[in-house]
Structure formats: C-alpha cells, structure tokens
C-alpha cells in the first residue's frame, strides 16, 4: 500500500463504492478511483480485471455490453443488491478500523 497500490479486499470495496455512482466500465472505474483519491491510489489493471470478474462471479456486480461515451463497445459493470449490502458491511468495518487506527496514532 505504501506506493499507492491496493490490497485485494480494499480494492473490492473501492470498486463497489465507485459503482454506487452508476454503471461504469473497467477503465472508468480505475480513472474514477484515481481521480477521487487525488492520484494517491493507483489501480493496476492486473488486479482490477481479476477483481471485477471475481465480484461478478460472486454476484456482487452484474455486467452488460454497451456503448462508451466515445462510441466504443465496452463492458459496463453495475452494482447488485447483494453488492450493495456487502459494501455497507465492509465500509462500516473499514470506518471502525480507520477510526481505531487514527485514535491510536493521535494518543500515542
């Protein structure tokens, strides 16, 4: 994580979170995460696509082929109900963990 790459579980959560803003293709998801994090988080394609396919197989996201903004055929991913539930669970846990770490760092 030190150089801004993401461990697997975290990437899954960020992908799900990103998709709450609507259907998006893989490239869009990567861009979105990078921009929102002010280029702190870089998404490696080597991790992103396996993660997307795994999430799809697990039923967290759905996919369909559609037109991209520049009229290319692209695969769009969409959050499912199951994915939404999973996200809220993971986000909650992440928040608790982050706060805990922050408290430790402040007091120590």
């Amino acid at each position: 994580m030190g150089n801004g790459t993401l461990v697997q579980g975290t990437l899954d959560m960020l992908v799900l979170k990103t998709l709450t803003r609507g259907p998006m293709h893989g490239y869009g998801i990567a861009q979105s995460i990078q921009q929102i994090s002010d280029e702190v988080l870089r998404v490696e394609e080597g991790s992103l696509y396996p993660a997307l396919h795994r999430l799809e197989l697990d039923g967290m996201i759905d996919s369909e082929w559609g037109q991209s903004t520049n009229n290319r055929r692209a695969k769009f991913y969409r959050l499912t109900a199951k994915g939404r539930k999973q996200l809220s669970k993971e986000a909650g846990e992440w928040k608790r963990l982050a706060e805990a770490i922050a408290r430790v760092l402040e007091t120590a």
């Binding site: 490239y27 490696e44 394609e45 080597g46 696509y49 396996p50 396919h53 197989l57 055929r73 692209a74």
Partner: protein
C-alpha cells in the same frame, strides 16, 4: 450454486468468454492510449496481457478440470508426435506392468488362500509323534478321544483321515474321489456348515450307525447336476451303500481339497492305541493364544504317555497353524522371490523410460523454455510433464493387462492341476485391477518425476539461445542417467543370476537319467475297494485278468502293476537285515516298490546281478526280494548281495525272511527336485498285494491313443471301478510346479530385464554421443583417430556397466540363497552361472555401446563444427 451455474454457462460458451475478455482489455488499452501516454506506455503499465487474461479466464472456468483435460490432450499430442519413443516406452512398461500384475495375481491367490475356512488364523492342526515313530504324523483313535475330552484351549478337537474312494451309482460312470473320514464334530469345530441338508451328528460316528455321506459342492454339481433332491439318495462308496445327508458350500473343501466326507467310525482296528492313522485339528477357543494351546497339548500328551507307557511312550503333540501344513506354505518364500524379480523388471522398465525421457529432455528444452518465457509456472510445467509420463504408463498398463492375461494362462497351463490346486484361483479380479491401476499411475510418476523436475529447472535464456543443446539435455542430465543405468544393470544381474541358476538346475535334472525308458509307456491308476475284493487273492486275480486283457490289445507289448511310478515315491516298511544288530524298540524303515513280474520289462530294467521277478515269485517257493544298487552297496559293501536275507516288520512282528535274488540299477524314485539315489527294495506283487496301484504298459503305438481302450477294458471287468489318471508316463514325469516352469519364468523375466537394460544403456550412450558430436568433431579435426573416439565412447559406456555389474553381483549373492529350496544339484553361488551372467551382460552392454560408437566415428568434423 449460482456461481456454479454461471461457470457452467461460461463453459458452454468458452469462445464467447474469450472474445469478451479480449474486447474488454483492448478497450481499456485503447482508452489509455488515447489518454495520451501512447500505446507503448499503456502496454508497459498494463503488464503481461496474457497473464491477466489467464487470471480472468481461470476464474470463469472449472480450472482444475479443464487444465487437466488440456494437459492430457497436450500430452497425447506430444506422444503422438514421437511414435518411436512412445512405442518403445509403452512396450517396456507393458512388459514390466504385465509381468508384475500376473505375478501379483499368483502371489495374492497364494497368500490370501483361506483353506476354505472363515477363520483360517484360528484353526490349528495337532500332530503327534511317539518315541518309536519318529517321523509319523498321526494320532490313534483312543488318544484322540482322550485329547478331545481333556483339552480346554481348543473349541472342539476333530480327527480325520483321507482315503481315495470309488463312487458308483446310477448317475454315470464310476468316479474316484478323495474322501475324508472325519469325527462328527469336524465341521462344527472349524465353523463350517453344509449349504444343503444337515451336518454330521454324534450318532453318525457310533459303531453300527447307518453310513452317511456329505458331498462337496463341485461333486454335487458335476456328478449330480446340482440336483436338489440328492438328499436321502443312496450312493455306493467303495461298494458300500451310503445315504447323502448334505452338500457343502462352494469352495469349502476342508481339510484337504476334499471331495466327500463320511463319519469316522472307530472299529476294532482303529481302537488300538498304537494305530496312529489320524490327523487332528481344532479351533483355538476365544481369547486363547497359540502358545497356551501348545503348552496345554504338550501337557496332555505327557499325561497320556505316563498313563499308557506301552503305546504312548514319548508321546508329543505339536500345534501348528493350518496354513503351515499346506504345501503352499513352503513355496511362499519362492513366490516372494519371484514377485521381487518382477518388481525388478518393472523397476528396470521405469529406469529405462526415465532415461529415454531424460534424453528427450534435450529436444524438449527449447519448447519448455518458451512455455516458461510466456508465463507458464514451473509447477504447471512439472504437472504437464507428469501427465505425459502417466499417460505413457497408463497405456503401458492397458497393454500390460493383456500381457498379464497371457502370462497367467501360460502359468495355469504350466502348473496343471497337481501343484496349483484349489488354493489358487487365478483370475484377474477387482483386486488385481486396482493393483494394476495403482502401479500404472505410480510407475508413471516414478519414472517421470526426475526428468520433469530437471526440465522445469532449466535456464530459459541459454536453452532458447542454443537450441536445446545445452542445459537440461546437457551435462547436468548425465549423472542421473548413469545412475539409472547402474541401477538397471545391477537389477539385471540379480535376475540373470537367478534365472541362470534355475536353468542350470533344470539342465542338471533333465540330464540326469531316471533309470527307466519312459517313452511309450501308458499308466493308469486303480483302487480296488475292500468291500468287493475282500481277500488279497481277489486283488491278485483281478490284476491277473486285467493284464491278460490289456496284453491282448493290439499295440500293447506288456502290462504290469506297481505301487509307485518312477519319481513317484515309495511304500515304507519297517525291516531288519539278517545279521545286523537289532535296535531295541524300533526297526529302521526302508522304501519299497511293490511290483508284478512284468514291471521290469515294461520299464526296460535289467538285472545287474541275479534275476528279475517271475510270475511264481510270492505265490510259491521261498519269499524273495530284489534290491537296487544303492541298497546293495550301502548295506553289503564289497559283498555279493545275492542270497542275503532281510525281513519286514509289521506292528513289531517280524515277517518271514526274504532272500535277495537280484540287484537292479538305481531308478530315481524320489521327487525330481532331489537327485539322491535312495536305497530301495522291490517286493513281488503277489507277496504284498496292493489295492491302490498303477497299471503300466509298454506300447508299440503312441501311448495316449490307447487311453480309451484301457478304460474300456477296466469297465469290462468291473463296471463300478474307475480307471483314472490314464496318461503317458512321460506326461506324469513332466508335471508339477517343476523347476522347468520356474526356470522358464525366471528366464523370461531375466530376458526382458536384459533387453531393457541394454536399451537403457544404448539410449544413454546414443544421447551422449549426439550431444558430444561437436566435441568429437573437434577431436577428429585435431587428429584424433577412430580408435581414440571408440575408446572414449566405450570407456564412458563401460563405467556404469562395470559399476552395475559389481553392485549386482553382491546383491545377487545375497538373493540367490532364497532359491536354494528349488535348486537341484547346483549351489546358489555356482561360479559358472555367475561368470555366464557377467559375460552375457558385458556383451549386451558392448552391443548397446557399439551402435552409438559407430555413429561417433562417422562424425564428419566439418559438418559437426558447422552445426550451430
């Protein structure tokens, strides 16, 4: 579940899945390129697209299943592209696996034989001996009765004796069977029950009880067509009518491959305490160990000895597990040795194929390097190569199955019914199949693992560059290859030494004259029942009539009767020599052949001294005896045996003196494996009439053609009398689990081993020469002669050969000891054999080196140097 459905959907549309993946990633790359970083930069950041695709694809597919399937297809394709290699490897493996499976079937059959019992490990035999009968194995009925009432460590003690019987009734021709006379508790003692009818009851063994008969399953099926109404029918057994009370289940033929059982009824003769004619068996009581049964029986025997000092002086009782008294027990070490031998053959086959794989590794190094370079993991490579070798061994296993079938059929035919009795059910059953499948896969992994690991470790860069001539196929493979050759050679030496000893032993046996002319002699057996032929005179008169009938047949020269055939053992009698100091309490025993006057003529035996029997011997005049050469020289060395006297002793009562009227040459009466010439005497048939005899006839036509005519003549004299074992004397002599069969088996194993080992050496040398082509070219260019090159190649080939030979000889000297029990007249350390092995192996090895060496000296220096 849903995941599974999705995967299944993807499975059916694999093409689409691949295309989609492709599209998705291309889209990504294009987007990235447009973003400004340029296609090259985009791709660099992207990493290996194929690895990424692979990762995604694996998620969608039944990875394990599909990759296995892919590996198998790939393996089959690779093997198909090298038909030569594949054929040789599969043949080697088929021979190894086939021989191993066949031998496993035999060993498994022999070791899992249960004597027709459910609790074979709890059933014991009790053998008793007394001071005067040091070799005898029997108990008397009174002793048995006492043992039975006193013993506590056995649940039920039973007694039996076996007699051959003639069975006749309305159901066809008379038959001859082995019948067991058994105390009524016999079956219940060992936990057997009839499948039809009732077991023997205590009432059946009371004197005067109506005689009853139990049928073996096979008798019921074969003679009575499995007639369920057989119970209560009357059957004539040795001319005594008996009522059938039951039928035993299939394969329940305890105690001795028994056909029929009747109750053992003690009569006046049986009731004597010194008539030791019974075998005892019983089952260990629950929780009782063998040792406590032994000590109890020992104590009981000593009690009896003290109570009946006249008859039971020095009585002892030994308790043995039932398995130990079967003939099977003694051949177990031999079977184990043969099983080890085929194991060696299989190992050699494995080493061979491993070597071929190593040599082929050179050719494959490049292919493997490329696969590694484009992202295949080493584990995948190893797996792929192992799948390949297992495919090979499974193909070997398939053909090995056929080899095993053929081998077993051959073994079956070779052993006949005499020695491979009912204990062996030689069939390729489920156990065998599981074994075959297991060793097929195991050998594939065994011979495949080392070459696979080696190939997977190759240095990609160098092997792609030098076209597969270095690295894996190169020098690093050689120590392993050489070690495998050493192993092959060593195992080969052991096998060849074993086979060589067997062959030498067989030659010795077949070159040792039996002492009679066995060609053109027809033999058959007859057993005249006491009920119909009560007096010895009846027996003599029957045989006299039969002889007249047989000799009137065209093609028959002469006929005679004898108690034993050559190599067929003898009858034993207690006897005394005139003038020899009597040994108190016991008389020595001597083997005797009881024969009619014509026997010597039929066997083409002439007297060395004196005369042969005449028709009047034993009927009139003084009682006579003929001795063989060994007897004469052992007991009357340097003296004339003629006119000397000896007498038989029956139940301690001396019989009339017999005068020696002739000396005949030694005939091998012992079983073939023993070449000793035993001192024997011949008694005139009319002096000692026998009920169970061999009829022997010299014929002018091939003896087998007269078999039917002989049977008819017997039937003409007595329609209820079976004539059995009607066959030429030569057939009788050549049967048995003979040294010949063992020699043939060992020779086949050794031959396969030799061929495989030589091919192994050849493969390594050929590989080494082709690898060193360049070096050889340089040497020749520098002025090396063909001689130098030959020397180099042979020196390299002979090193593992010599090492293997050395190790093998040491091993062999240890192993051949097991063969001692079957070797006749040959020491297990026979120098001729070992020398022969060395010579043959060196020659085979030289041949293995010669072809590569020839190729080496034909290397064209210019071409060799230009090769790369």
């Amino acid at each position: 579940m849903r995941r599974f459905r999705k995967k299944l959907g993807a499975f059916w549309q694999r093409r689409r899945l691949d295309r989609d993946l492709e599209d998705e990633l291309r889209f990504h790359l294009e987007m990235k390129a447009e973003e400004g970083s340029g296609p090259l930069e985009a791709r660099r950041r992207f990493g290996s697209p194929s690895a990424l695709k692979e990762a995604c694809r694996e998620m969608w597919t039944f990875v394990t299943l599909e990759t296995w399937w892919r590996d198998i297809r790939y393996a089959l394709r690779t093997l198909g592209r090298n038909p030569g290699f594949t054929t040789v490897a599969v043949i080697a493996l088929a021979l190894g696996i086939g021989a191993d499976t066949a031998m496993f079937t035999i060993v498994n059959g022999a070791f899992s034989w249960n004597a027709g019992l459910d609790h074979v490990d709890r059933v014991v035999f009790v053998s008793t001996t007394d001071a005067t009968h040091s070799q005898e194995f029997g108990a008397s009925y009174p002793d048995f009765r006492d043992f039975r009432t006193r013993v506590k460590s056995l649940t039920g003690l039973a007694a039996y004796s076996t007699i051959p019987v003639n069975v006749s009734d309305g159901s066809g021709l008379p038959d001859r069977y082995w019948c067991v006379q058994m105390s009524a508790n016999g079956f219940s003692a060992v936990g057997l029950k009839p499948m039809l009818g009732r077991d023997f009851a205590p009432g059946d063994e009371r004197p005067g009880a109506p005689p009853v008969l139990m049928l073996g399953h096979h008798v019921w099926q074969q003679r009575y067509g499995a007639d369920p109404a057989i119970l209560g029918k009357t059957v004539r057994v040795n001319e005594v009518p008996m009522t059938v009370i039951g039928v035993m289940p299939t394969d329940r033929r305890f105690p001795e491959d028994t056909d029929l059982w009747m109750a053992l009824v003690p009569d006046a003769a049986r009731d004597k305490r010194d008539n030791r004619s019974l075998m005892l068996f019983g089952r260990l009581a629950d929780g009782v160990r063998m040792a406590s049964a032994r000590s109890e029986m020992d104590t009981l025997a000593r009690q009896l000895a003290a109570e009946y000092p006249d008859a039971d002086k020095g009585l002892t009782a030994a308790v043995l597990p039932v398995i130990q008294i079967t003939g099977l027990y003694s051949v177990r070490p031999l079977l184990a040795a043969l099983f080890t031998a085929v194991g060696f053959v299989l190992l050699i086959a494995c080493a061979d194929v491993a070597n071929m794989l190593l040599a082929r590794g050179a050719a494959r190094a490049r292919e493997i390097s490329i696969r590694v370079a484009i992202g295949a993991g080493r584990a995948r490579i190893v797996r792929q190569l192992l799948v390949e070798s297992v495919m090979l061994s499974v193909a070997g296993g398939f053909f090995g199955w056929l080899v095993a079938l053929a081998g077993l059929r051959w073994f079956d035919a070779g052993t006949g019914t005499i020695v491979k009795p009912l204990w062996l059910h030689l069939s390729l059953d489920r156990t065998t199949f599981v074994y075959l499948a297991a060793i097929s896969i195991a050998t594939g992994i065994l011979f495949g693992i080392a070459p696979a690991l080696r190939l997977a470790r190759i240095d990609i860069g160098s092997s792609i560059k030098d076209g597969g001539n270095g690295a894996a196929g190169g020098t690093r493979g050689l120590p392993l290859s050489n070690a495998l050759v050493v192993l092959e050679m060593a195992l080969c030496v052991v096998l060849m030494a074993g086979a060589g000893l067997m062959i030498r032993s067989m030659l010795k046996l077949y070159n040792t004259p039996i002492g009679v002319d066995s060609s053109d002699v027809l033999t058959m057996r007859l057993n005249l029942p006491k009920a119909k032929y009560p007096r010895p005179a009846d027996v003599v008169s029957f045989h006299h009539r039969l002889k007249t009938q047989l000799e009137s047949l065209p093609g028959v020269e002469s006929a005679a009767v004898a108690s034993n055939l050559p190599r067929g053992g003898w009858e034993e009698f207690n006897y005394e020599l005139e003038g020899a100091a009597p040994i108190p309490g016991r008389s020595p025993r001597i083997g005797a052949i009881v024969s009619s006057a014509g026997y010597f003529r039929v066997m083409r035996l002439t007297a060395l001294r004196g005369r042969l029997f005449t028709d009047s011997d034993g009927a009139a005049g003084i009682p006579v005896v003929i001795v063989n050469q060994s007897f004469a020289s052992r007991f009357w060395p340097g003296e004339d045996a003629l006119g000397k006297r000896l007498r038989l002793v029956r139940g301690r009562v001396p019989q009339p003196w017999l005068t020696v009227v002739g000396v005949v040459p030694d005939v091998l009466q012992n079983f073939r494996q023993l070449l000793e010439r035993d001192p024997l005497i011949y008694l005139p048939y009319q002096q000692e009439p026998q009920r169970l005899v061999f009829v022997v006839s010299r014929t002018r036509v091939p003896p087998a053609t007269l078999a039917q005519a002989f049977r008819r003549e017997v039937q003409g004299l007595d329609e209820n009398l079976p004539a059995y074992d009607v066959r030429p004397l030569e057939d009788v002599m050549s049967q048995g689990l003979s040294v010949r069969l063992l020699a043939a088996m060992c020779s086949i194993f050794a031959l396969i081993a030799l061929v495989l080992a030589s091919v192994g050496l050849y493969a390594v040398m050929a590989h080494s020469v082709s690898r060193r082509t360049q070096e050889i070219g340089i040497r020749m260019a520098m002025g090396g002669t063909a001689r130098d090159i030959l020397q180099m190649v042979f020196a390299q080939g002979m090193r593992p050969l010599a090492l293997g030979l050395g190790i093998g000889l040491v091993l062999a000297l240890g192993v051949t000891r097991v063969l001692r029990i079957v070797l006749a007249g040959v020491s297990p350390f026979d120098p001729v054999t070992f020398l022969g092995v060395v010579v043959v192996l060196v020659l085979a090895g030289a041949l293995g080196c010669a072809i590569p060496a020839r190729r080496a000296i034909r290397v064209d220096p210019v071409a060799a140097l230009r090769r790369d």
